[in-house]
Amino acid sequence: MNVAQDAGLIDALSRLLRPVMRLLFPELPDNHPAQGAILMNLSANMLGLDNAATPLGLKAMRELQELNPVKDTATNSMATFLAINTAGLTVIPFTIIGYRVLRGSHDPAATVTGTWLASIVSVSVAVIASRWLSKLPQFRIPHSEVAVAAVAGDSRTNMEDNR
């Protein structure tokens, strides 16, 4: 991941998918390393590479934390990222097909289309719910905390809130 980043590969990938990212994470500045890390994590998840996805996801969280004005509170981008991540994006659910084969299924891949449809529903709900819930008063970040964080010298990381 680090080598890929230094080689400029991640930048190329995020440039390619920038319109999608801008739609999903309107608060992330363009070209921020968080974009690349999020993309890598989601791609690993889609390929079903769960073990590879976790370190990439943690990297994305660290990058998002850099932009966070209130360090102990989740940002909108973090919530959206987690919601999409836990909505279970998959291209081919290999492990499940494997279990079906193991238990003698006649058509182990039969449920792939159904899985896509259900995933589309849950990912859409994830995006809409995280956007909508972030606007509710009980989930707003208290303004006093943002101000305190800014005074404390974190003004560099303040851009996410001011956008």
């Binding site: 590969l9 590879a52 990297k59 973090m78 836990t86 058509d107 891949a109 039969a110 259900a118």
Partner: protein, 190 residues
């Protein structure tokens, strides 16, 4: 016209080659751009290890809660109560989907527990039955939400989750309901 198992074999091969190909591509590009590869790799590995150690306490707490929940037998009580509610509102024709409840409730908590539940459904009803097929869809379209949230937020020390938990749970609920509906549409009532 290729059969679904042939298509599947192509996908499976593609997925097996995905990781080595990506790694080779990264190394070749790095060579081409003359990146100091070893230094870059070591820096990244150091970061990764730090992250892994950071999440251990959160992981231990999470796993303990999951064990207690499963051992307490609360699942059966919830299933019984939901069944009564469904019969009361006239959905008694759909109570067979309640056998999927253990899967729906364990999947957000633990991947390995959910795998056990899925295999049990396969053993009891067969993988090609309504329940087997629907369980497969449900398993594939949901994630281990609580595990991911604990680890990801724990790693960067975030304690106030704001709307992250309800948003993730809504997405899970949507995935579970969607898989049951799709299951009934595609495989329901023989």
């Amino acid at each position: 016209m290729p059969t679904s198992s042939q298509v599947l074999q192509v996908f499976e091969a593609a997925s097996q080659w995905a990781v080595p190909t990506v790694i080779m591509l990264i190394i070749l590009t790095a060579l081409y751009r003359k990146v100091p590869m070893y230094e870059s790799f070591v820096t990244g590995a150091k970061e990764g290890f730090g992250g892994a150690v950071m999440i251990i306490p959160y992981l231990v707490a999470m796993l303990l809660v999951i064990k207690i929940f499963i051992a307490s037998g609360m699942l059966d009580d919830i299933k019984y109560a939901l069944g009564a509610v469904m019969r009361a509102v006239g959905l008694s024709g759909y109570t067979d989907s309640l056998d999927l409840l253990p899967l729906a409730l364990t999947k957000p908590l633990s991947g390995s527990a959910a795998r056990g539940v899925l295999l049990e459904i396969f053993d009891l009803h067969g993988p090609d039955s309504f329940l087997g097929n629907t369980a497969s869809i449900m398993m594939g379209s949901t994630e281990t939400t609580f595990y991911v949230m604990t680890v990801y937020f724990g790693a960067v020390n975030i304690k106030k989750l704001r709307h992250a938990l309800p948003a993730c749970l809504l997405a899970d609920a949507a995935g579970i309901i969607a898989s049951i509906v799709i299951g009934y549409v595609l495989y329901g009532h023989r």
